[in-house]
Symmetry: D3
C-alpha cells in the first residue's frame, strides 16, 4: 500500500485514515501469522481509536507491581484526550518513521514494535504532566521508560513534532534540552548538560537536524537548523545551520546535501579537511 | 575442567558432550548455591537436550502478555528442530565465548546468563522465520529482543557461526548487514545504513574481524577479513583485510598482530601515524 | 529542603536523618500525586529502615520466574546486615547524586528511580557474594542487572564509595577493574579489558575522576586521581593525575579546573592543541 | 461510626455519603496498618467515585492472560455508567451486608474483601451483557467468577436488589432462576434446574427469603416471599410465603418469626413436627 | 448448529469434525465480541489439533511460580499423545455436556469455560501419571486443581468416559473410588472414604448413575448402574441398580424414570414413603 | 519410612527431626520427578527451618498485586517467630494429617499440597494478628484465603492443636466459634452463627470431635468432646459428649466406637432408630 497522503495523517472529514490503515495492515498481518492474532487483536483491532490502542499498548509495556497497567492507562488516556498537540504529535511521529526508515513500509510496525516511538510517546505524556506540576509522576514515567527501553529523556525536555528516535537504545536527553521539529536522532546519542549549575545547561537542536549514532552534544549550545552531526562526534560548541560537523571534538567538515538532513538519513560525511 | 575438544562441540557418536558438560557444571553450581537450584533445575537439568533447554530459557525471558512463553517456545523448538544450521551455530557461538572471554571458563555461564548469546540465538530464529516469509513474527521477536536486551538486530541480517556478541548492550545491526564467521563484536556497536534508499545499504563484515566497543560502521561498505576496528571508531569506507582502523572518521592505523583478531580480543591500536 | 549535612548521612546518635528525610519527602510526594501513593507506601513508608526498603525495592525490580523477589530479598538483607561497608557506601552513593546532579534535589528520587544507583547497589551485593566465593549467585545478579538496566558490572570489580553512575545505560565494567572514591561515570562508558590473557587486564580509576559519556577505557592502565576523560574518548594508555584527556585515541588536552572533576561534572574540554 | 441513613445510600444532593464513608473508613484503617496502605490507596483512595474503584478492584481480581484487567475494566465501567439500576443495586447490596452481617460494621470491608459481594457485582455486569445479546462475554465472566470465587451464577439469572451472598463458596444459580429483593443466601446453596428440557426450569425466590447454608432448591418451583429454607434442606416443590421449610426433602416445619427472615438471619428452625 | 453425530465425535476418515466445529463456533463468537478475540485466537484458532489447544488452555490455567505453564504443557501433551484412551475420553466428556446440560448448545463453551470439564481432564492426566508410578507429579496436579477449581479428585481414582461434572465446586473423590461410564455428578458431591484403614475404602459408582448436588457417598459401597442419588443425600450402604435413593441417611424412595438417569438430569424424587 | 515418634514432632535436643524428615522425603521425590525439582528446591531444600519454608510457601500462594509475597512473608515470619504456640500447632497439624489420612504417608505432602493445612496455618497467623488488634490485616488474610482456597475462617475464631481440615473446600467458621484439640473437619462444613445479635453466636466444638462432610452446625451450641457429627447433618442444639448425631435436623443416633472419633475418621453412623 502506498504511504498515506500527509494531509490525511491527522484525519479528514471526521475520518481517521491513519487508524483505518493501521487496522487494515493488522488484519493482513494476522491472516499470515496466527501466533500474533491474539496480541494484535488485543492491541489494535479491539480499539476504535488510535489513542485508546496506544494507551493500552504503552500501559501494558510499563505494567509493574509499582504501578498497574490500569492506573497508567488512565494517565495516558487523560493526557491524550486533553491535549490536542500530543494527538497531532503522535501522528507526526508515526509518519516520520515511514518517511525516513528504509526498512519500514507499514504504519503498524512502529506503532506495535519500535521502542523509540514508544519512549517518545511516553515522554510526551510525562512532559504534559511536568507542565502541570505533577513532577513526581513524570519522573516515575521517566524511570520506567529508562528501565524498559534504555531510553532516558527528562520530562522537562521539550521535543517537537515529527521526531524519529531510531532504535533509541542508550539515548539520554537532559532537563533543559529543546529539540525542534522533523529531527532524527539515532541510538546512543546524548544531549547532555555540563557543569553543576542549575538552569539552562543542555543543547538546543534546530528543525530538520540529523544526529547520527553515538554523538554526544554537551552543554547549552545550539545546533542550527538543517545541520548534521556525524556519528560518534562530541559536540561542545554551537553548530551553524546547514553545516555538517564530525569528530572528537567535532569540527565543521562540510555541508549537508539537502535542506533537511533528518529526512535523508544520510550519515556519511567528508573527511577531506581532516 | 578443560575446554571441550572443538570436534566434540557438535556431538560425537550420538553423544552430546557439550550438553553433558553443561549439565555437569550445573550440578556443581547447585551444590554450592541452593538459591539457584530451582532456576537451574527448571532451565538445565529438567531437559534432555540442549535445544529443549534453550527454547525454554529464551521463551521464559521473552514471556509477556503479548505472546506467552508457551507460544514462543513452540516457535523456538520448531526452528531448532527443522534447521540443522541453527543447531550447529548455537554450539559454535557457545564455544566462541569460552574461546575468547577471559572471564568465562564454563559453558553454562553464557547459556544461562549472557544476553549477547541470548539475543544472537533469538536472531537466528527470527532470521529463519524471515527466510520463510514470516516477517511479522520475525519483527515481533526483534522488538522483544530490543526491549529486553537493548540489542537490536534486524531479522533479515545474515550472521555467520562462532559469533561473540560481548555484553551486547546498544548493539544495532541493520537489515542488509552481513557478518562472517568467527567475528567478535563488543557493546554499543552499530552496523548501520546510510541514506533512505531501499536495497543493500549496510556493512559486510569479513571472517575473523574484531569490532571494538562503540564503533559505528555505516553504509554498504566492506570490512575485510581479519581486520580490526578500534573502539569508538566511525567507519565510512571499506577497510582492507588484515588492517587495523581507528578514529572518527576511521583511518588505517596498523596491522593486527594475528590472523584472526576476533579470537585475540586485543583492543589496543597504535597511535603512531596520528 | 536543604541537603543534609554530610556528617549526618551515616546517622547520628542512633538516629538516621537520611532515612527520615527520604520518608518525609515521600509523604510530601504522596500528598501531591495519589497514583504513586500505593508504590511509595509499599516501597518507602512501610519500612522502618533504609536497608529494609532498599532490599525490597531491588528485589521487586529483579523479580523473575528464575529467582523470586522473596529469595533475592533474603540475599540483599543478608548482605546489608552483615557488611557495614556496604551500608556506608549506599549512603555515600545517594549523597553523590544530590551533590552532583543538577536536576536532582531530593534523596528519594535516586532511591526510587535512578537505575545507575540501583545497579550500583546490586553490584555491591554481588561483590560481597563474590568475595565469599559465591560466584554463581554473583554472576546471576550481574546477569539480571544487565538485562534489566543495560548496565553490566562484573561482580569481581572493585568500586569505591560516593560513586555516581549517571543514567548508566550501556555501562560495562570488567572483572579486574578498580574504581576509586568520589568517581562520576556517565552513560555508555566501558572500563574494558584487552587481550585474552587471564589476570589483571582492566583499568584502574583514581579518586575524584570524571568519565564523560561514551568514553572507552581499555586495558590495565591507570587513570590518575582527579583526571577527566572527555566524552567519546578512547583511552589506551595511562592518564596522569589531574589532567584532561580526550579524542580517539585520547591525548592530554588540558587540566581540569578543579581538584575533583567528578564533583563538578564539567564535561567541556579545550580543543586548542588539536 | 453509625450506619448510614438508608436514604443516603444512593447519594443526596449531588454528594455520595457512602463513598465518602468508605474512604474515611479506609483512611483510618491505613493509619493502623501500613502493610495495607499500598493496596487501599490503589483500590479506594485513588478513586473519586465508587464505580471507578469497584471496576478497578474487580478487574484486578479477574486479571488473567486470557483477558487483561485493562480490558475487563472497560467493560465494568461501561456497564456501571450506562445502567443506573446496577449503580443502585451495588449500594443496596453493600447496605445489605451491614444490615445483616453481625460480624461486619464497616462498609469498606465487603467492598474490599467479601467474595459474595464481588461475585454478585460481576454477575450484575454479566447480566447486563447478556441482556444486550453479548452472551460470549457474559459466559466468560461467569467462568472467571466460578474459577476465582467458587461461585457460579448463570448470567441470564435475574437477581433483585439488596442481596446478601454470605461467604458464597459453592453457590450455584441456574439460567432461569429469579431472585427477588432483600434475599439472603448462604454458602453452598444451589438454585438448580431439573431435567433436560430447555426453557424455564429453575426456582423463583420471593422477596425477603432466607436460604440457609447448603440448601438445594431444584426445579421451576416458587419459594414465596418471606419464607425461610433451613440449612441442608432439599426443596423440590413450592414453598408457601412466610413459612419455614426444612429437611431432605423439605417440609413445612413452621413460620418465621419475622416478615423478612432474610434480614434477621435466624437460621434456627423447630423440630416439633418431625 | 445441530449437535454432531455421536459417530463423528472421535473423528472420521482422518478428519476431526469436533475440532472443526469448535473452531467454527469460535470464529462466530469472535465476530460478535472483539474483547474475546485475543483469548480465543490464542486458545483455539492458533491450534491445529484439539489436544494442542487443550494442553495449552489447561497449562495456562495452572501456571504458577511453582510450575510454569511451559513445563505443565509438556506433561499434558505427553499424556494426550501417548494415551488413546484419554483422547477418546476428552471427546466423550465434551459430548456429555452438550447431551445433558440444557443451558449449553455449543462445544466450545465447556472447552473454554467449564471448570468441571477442565478438572476432569487434569485428573485424566494425573491418573495417567499415577499409573506410571509418577505419584509426586500426580499429587502436585491434584493440589493445583483443588486450589484453582475447588475440585479435589485423588489421582488414583478411576473415572470412566462420558462423565459430566456439572459446576463442580466442592467435589471430592477419594483414592479408591471408581466411577463408571456416562455418569453425571453435580456440585458439592463427596465420594469419600470412611475409617483409617488403608486399602479399598471409597464408593464404586455404576454406569449411567446420576448424583445430585451435595450428595455424600461414603465408604466402599456400590451404587448400582442406572441408580439416582437425590440431592443432599448421605449414602452409607449399597444402592441397588435402577433405584432412587434420598435422605440423610439415604433410603430407597423410588425408581428412576429412565434407564440412564445421568442422561436425563432429572433431580426430582418422590416423597411418598417418608 | 515409619511415622516420626510423637515426642520428636516438636524437636529434640536442638534438632528438628520433622524438618529433616520433610527434607529427606523431598530429596527422594526430586530424584524421581525432575519437573518438581525446581519447585521443591525453592520451597523446601532452600530453607534451613520449617518456619522459613512455610512462610515462603504460603506467601507465594497468596501473592497478588494487592499485597506482594515479600510483604506477606514478613508477616508470617513475624508471627511464627514471636509465637511459640503457633510453631507447636503447625507441627501438631502436620502430624494430624499423617495420623488420620489413610491416603497420606509422607509429611511433605500436606506441607506442600494440602489446602486445608495451608488455610489453617494462614488462620493461625490471622488469629495472632487479631489478638493484637490488627483486625484490618487479619481480615485481609481471611479474604485472600477464602478466594484462594474456598475456605473461610474468621480470624477471631479460636482453633486448637492437631486439627485436620480434610480437603477443606467450602468450610466456613464464624467469628465466635471455638474448636478444641484433635478435631477433624471435612469439606463443606459450616460452623455458623444464627441471628443478627452481636456477641457469642457460633458453635463450640469439644476435643476429639469428628465433623463429617457437609455438616452445618449453627448457633452458640456445644458439641461435646468425643462426639461425632454425621455427614450432611444440620445441628441446631447441643450435642452431648461421646454421642453420634445425624440427620436434618440432627438427632442422637448412637455412640462413636472410640474415644476420639476424630482420630478414627469413621464416618458411618447407625440408622436403626430413625
Amino acid at each position: 500500500m502506498p504511504a498515506l497522503h500527509p494531509k490525511h495523517i491527522h484525519g479528514i472529514e471526521g475520518q481517521d485514515p491513519l487508524w483505518e490503515r493501521i487496522r487494515e495492515e493488522t488484519r493482513i498481518a494476522i491472516a499470515g501469522e496466527a501466533i500474533l492474532a491474539s496480541f494484535m487483536h488485543a492491541t489494535i483491532l479491539h480499539h476504535e481509536e488510535l489513542e485508546s490502542a496506544l494507551s493500552f499498548h504503552l500501559a501494558n509495556q510499563l505494567d509493574s507491581p509499582s504501578a498497574s497497567s490500569m492506573m497508567l492507562r488512565d494517565v495516558f488516556l487523560e493526557a491524550f484526550s486533553s491535549d490536542e498537540t500530543t494527538r497531532r504529535a503522535i501522528r507526526d511521529d508515526l509518519n516520520a518513521v515511514l518517511e525516513r526508515d528504509s526498512a519500514c513500509h507499514e504504519y503498524h510496525l512502529p506503532f506495535l514494535y519500535f521502542k523509540g516511538f514508544h519512549a517518545l510517546q511516553i515522554h510526551r505524556v510525562g512532559h504534559w504532566l511536568w507542565q502541570q506540576g505533577r513532577h513526581s509522576l513524570a519522573l516515575f514515567l521517566q524511570s520506567r521508560m529508562a528501565q524498559k527501553f534504555a531510553i532516558d529523556i527528562h520530562p522537562a525536555a521539550i521535543l517537537g513534532h515529527g521526531i524519529l528516535l531510531d532504535h533509541g537504545s542508550g539515548l539520554v536527553v537532559g532537563e533543559t534540552a529543546v529539540v525542534g521539529n522533523r529531527v532524527s536522532i539515532l541510538q546512543s546519542v546524548t544531549l547532555g548538560g555540563t557543569g553543576k549549575v542549575d538552569g539552562d545547561r543542555h543543547p538546543k537542536i534546530g528543525d530538520g537536524v540529523l544526529i547520527s549514532a553515538g554523538a554526544k552534544i554537551l552543554g547549552n549550545i545550539r545546533v542550527g537548523e538543517g545541520a548534521k552531526v556525524g556519528a560518534g562526534s562530541v559536540v561542545l560548541k554551537d553548530v551553524p545551520p546547514h553545516t555538517t560537523v564530525a569528530g572528537v571534538p567535532a569540527r565543521v567538515v562540510g555541508v549537508p546535501t539537502s535542506e533537511n538532513p533528518a529526512l535523508d538519513m544520510d550519515h556519511d560525511f567528508p573527511e577531506s579537511d581532516w
